[in-house]
């Protein structure tokens, strides 16, 4: 079986064209990006606001509880209800995109909320005491400290979207899921497994990329990973970094 999958993966004919691997990868990434952009615009400001003001916490719990709804059921229910009301390509893509956005919301919301919520109240008070306005506290203090948890929410949401976009091929969405769903439908295991391998590799690569982004974005003051030069400067000034002391 494995040689057959290898043949499928390495056959140039499978890579080019409107239904080739290259196009499908591009579709998969485009849908995922659009979905994550929409979901982030909704959930991240909301999560930060809930964490900052402490108001609307039940919303976070409700979003978490909603995760128990089977993704497959949500996808089919919306496709069945919305599909006939739309025309053309939109009938196939719109329900999937909406479901993917809905699925991306809870992890994004929870990450942003938990990140701000976890900020040490003393830090927040110190920032206020220094004369920072409410908005400044949120942007300059809470957001940078919340970033690791917020970004782990983004990572979770991204994986969820990539995985569910695969399944959404069943209701007509493009992307790599086409190989899996169409392959299963016609009993072509080489294409099915080849597609599955590609999806798995895509998810792994995107996650590794995001892990790298997290490393770049998170303040070294939080990770304790100060640059060597900075440590030397600090210790020369008699300021031993706290991270080393503990």
């Amino acid at each position: 079986m494995i040689p057959k999958i290898w043949d499928w993966l390495t056959d140039p004919a499978n890579w080019s064209g409107a239904d080739g691997i290259a196009t499908r990868v591009q579709e998969h990434l485009t849908y995922s990006l659009i979905v994550l952009a929409i979901a982030s615009l909704i959930a991240l400001p909301l999560g930060l606001w809930i964490g900052h003001t402490g108001r609307g916490r039940p919303l976070v719990s409700a979003a978490n509880a909603a995760r128990a709804v089977p993704t497959l059921g949500l996808l089919f229910a919306l496709a069945l209800w919305l599909g006939p009301r739309l025309s053309g390509d939109l009938a196939f893509t719109a329900p999937s995109i909406i479901v993917l956005v809905l699925l991306a919301l809870p992890p994004l919301l929870a990450g942003a909320y938990a990140g701000v919520e976890a900020v040490d109240p003393a830090t927040r008070d110190a920032a206020r005491g220094m004369g920072l306005s409410d908005g400044q506290v949120l942007r300059q203090v809470e957001l940078p400290i919340a970033l690791p948890l917020l970004l782990s929410g983004v990572r979770a949401a991204t994986l969820q979207v990539i995985a569910t976009a695969t399944i959404a091929a069943y209701v007509g969405l493009g992307g790599l899921g086409r190989f899996l769903i169409d392959g299963l439908a016609i009993g072509d295991y080489a294409a099915t497994a080849g597609g599955a391998l590609l999806v798995a590799v895509l998810a792994l690569l995107v996650d590794l990329l995001l892990a790298g982004v997290v490393r770049l974005l998170v303040s070294p003051g939080l990770t304790g990973k100060q640059s060597r030069r900075r440590r030397v400067e600090l210790s020369a000034a008699g300021l031993s970094p706290i991270a080393d002391a503990t």
Partner: protein, 232 residues
Amino acid sequence: MTWISGHLGDIWRLTVQHAVLAAIPLVLGLIVSIPLGWAAARSRRLVPVALAGTGLLYTIPSLALFILMPLILGTKILDPVNVIVAMTIYTVALLVRTVVDGLGSVPSHVDAAARAMGLGAFRRLVTVQLPLAVPVIAAGLRVAAVSNVSIVSVASLIGVSQLGDLLVDGYNRDIPGELWAGIVGCLVLALLFDLLIQGLARLLTPWLRADSRSSARRLALADAPRDVGVAA
């Protein structure tokens, strides 16, 4: 509604299959995660490695993992074992972190006391650390259970029967009643798993219950310092 009343037998059969496909991986996953998490928690360098390794497994989309299982296991694509092993992998990915956190939540003075009493590493784990880690592990298990119940329904796409069949069939034949029966069935099952794990966790941690129930008694004791002195 008419669809549901005419198919109660099918719904029940699929619900039981769904419960089995979601529950076996939970148990297997817990059995695998405890030694893994324990080994990782004992060595500080191993923790990030163990978490990154299991985290990578979790990144693989469910449908892809189901499809790739026959390649790794040598099974047939329709074999439910594919789903059980794949779900076990997801459960381990979630629970290793939980076990590490749970064992980390054990107060160090308690562990030190157990060590001073001469308990070896294994007995400390089984009789002291794991019981105290139950609340944290149960919380992780609840997340895994809810996620498992949802993901198992995807197995219908590779032809393994459970409540997901109602979703697929309801969609394909445009029977909203069937589709909703599948969704509600999954929700009820997730809720049942959640309640069951909460109940088990309560049974396993009687001291936590005693704490909340006897808070009135403790208040009364606080008024009588002599008694507390004796107890201490």
